[in-house]
Amino acid sequence: MSVHITSPQFKQNAREALADQPLQKALAKVGPGFIGKRAAAAEKLPEFEALRDSARDIKNHTLAHLDLYMERFEEKARAAGGHVHFAVDAAEARNIILGICRDLGAKTVTKGKSMISEEIGLNDHLEANGIQPVETDLGEYLIQIRGEGPSHIIAPAIHLNKEQVEADFRRVHADLPPERNLSEPTALLAEARGKLREKFLAADVGITGANFLVAETGTSIIVTNEGNGDLTQTLPKAHIVLASIEKLVPTLEDVSQLLRVLARSATGQEMSVYTTFSTGPRRAEDPDGPGDYHVVILDNGRSGMLAGQLREMLRCIRCGACMNHCPVYHAVGGHAYGWVYPGPMGSVLTPSLIGVEKGRNLPNASTFCGRCEEVCPVRIPLPKLMRHWREKEFERHLMPATQRTGLAVWSFLARRGWLYRPMTRMAMAMLALVGKSKGRFSKLPLAGGWTQYRDFPAPEGDTFQAQWAARKNVR
């Protein structure tokens, strides 16, 4: 089965999120925490902006040669004793992984954090087939025991408060003494550490995502702060890596460039605590490590994005900076976006992956303030790509009739300057007259979508074009 999608009801989701007190309390901490830390880390490294250019260029080069780097990765990973599988869509990836688990007679699998696993609904599929998946990233564990999806790509439980976590632990860890004190985050962390330690040691298979795949050496890389993904892949009989096609990078030098911007953009760290490079299974004389190593490379709609403007989105290294700096995300949180990927990157990626019909509301969930693009380490022009989807939406006749007619009238006029100028001048003068007393409108015909939540500023009385012409004459 696949993940339940509520993106088409974005407006309703957003309304509910705004009224959700505990959520609003949790969201209030997002901006202040992440924004300052990223800024400080960028400040400390004079080469940070040059590294962002370098990161963008590496990704562009890789995407333009993606078929060839993928061939090289496959060859090197196999030479190291690994298995490489290709999955066109989510169902195929789920079945490949289920097959590997069954061949090994697996009963429980531990999992490192993987957004692609969320994307393909892997946990439900394993569970439905009698295999128990255990999320080991603390945030993922919290949402798993609550039966929720992630609300942020690097901090999946950012929507929760510690009181909620305490209540969940008391419910799920029922074997522990009820009188124990769990009021502090340290106590909660210690309890999770103890519970998950047992799972790490008992698991038959470990499944992780990959932050990068290195073509030069056939290596998969995961980056964690907890060490959970690293334990997940080291202790069991087999390590399965689930990665999408755009994770490829050419060389170890290239990945070092990307790692220099990843943690700084994400959490403001100089480097994440654990960066683990895995190449093949345990070697002949090795005292530990997994006996089997599989890499499942997933397309699920991404190859199509290579053809046009959306190729730029495939540069994304999933740092989360765009949502950390997004006023819309700060207001409504990640669940309102209705699928796996929230915030600005989700607004671009979701319609690409689940279709514009279901994801069409998301590119509109933007104030076009441009902060996401300012902080994106691989310089993805997120506002431009959201606009691309808005245009697509218009072309595909998916907009409500009033918006369509309005835009059609505007474009008719705009292409006929002799008509546009006098008409807009007249309209501005009228609006200025009517709105004069307050300087803004709280209601406007045909603009209810705007004025329902904010006032429309009244114009000063002349159009931009008329003012421009007047100023030109002055100069």
Partner: protein, 226 residues
């Protein structure tokens, strides 16, 4: 029947408008892999050796790890015992068979129990020898191998790491070149762990806490001069 592999490669090539056989593209990829250009290197990582050591120490501590600088390797067993005593831990440590650790003068600390092998999660303290240290970010680089179990890096509560000052480099790139010299081009050991400080999580209300799943403490024993 076409395989998923064929479908996937074909759809990438269609989207890119290529066949995959174009010689200039193949050459560009081969050149990049063999030349592995370095890109932008931070100036802070290009200090002379003494500066690198000072920066390494500073960055290790900034990442919430602890560090002692010892004159030479013979001081390591005593430094380990001192670390364990200061924290009221049992005088017992698990290490890999690595000759650089085996050759330490363990007899100088008769009270210290030293075990050899991979960790099964029951040991409080583990000892490893790093392949290198990276000054730029205070990172230690661990390579897996017959004498260097990866589990020692992750399971014990306290991870103690010996780093030779001579193996501290400014950048990640210098470490890759050293590994290429040792293992050959395009080849890595099964696991390379970069470790920068002890395990942590900020998943509960963004409160940063040490000791999530990996070691709660990381202690670097820096040995000798650059």
């Amino acid at each position: 029947m076409t395989s998923s592999r064929d479908v996937l490669f074909a759809s990438i090539r269609t989207a890119l408008g290529v066949s995959g056989a174009e010689a200039p593209r193949r050459q560009a990829v081969a050149d990049r892999i063999s030349g592995h250009p370095r890109g932008v290197i931070p100036a802070r990582a290009e200090l002379p050796p003494a500066g690198q050591i000072a920066l390494f120490k500073e960055m290790v501590e900034a990442a919430a790890a602890t560090l002692v600088h010892l004159p030479d390797a013979s001081a390591v067993p005593a430094a380990i015992a001192a670390y364990l005593r200061a924290r009221n831990l049992p005088l017992s440590i698990l290490r890999g068979a690595d000759a650089r650790l085996a050759n330490l003068p363990w007899q100088s600390e008769p009270a210290l129990d030293v075990w050899i092998g991979p960790s099964d999660g029951r040991q409080l303290a583990g000892l490893s020898h790093a392949f290198g240290g990276i000054a730029e970010s205070g990172t230690v680089v661990m390579l897996s191998g017959p004498d260097n179990p990866s589990t020692l890096n992750l399971l014990p509560d306290h991870h103690l790491v010996v780093v030779n000052a001579a193996d501290v480099t400014g950048t990640y790139e210098e470490v890759w070149d050293r590994i290429r010299t040792l293992y050959g081009p395009g080849t890595l050991p099964r696991t390379v762990n970069w470790i920068t400080g002890p395990s942590r999580s900020a998943d509960i209300e963004q409160t940063l806490l040490l000791g999530a799943h990996g070691p709660r403490s990381l202690h670097v024993l820096l040995v000798g001069d650059a």
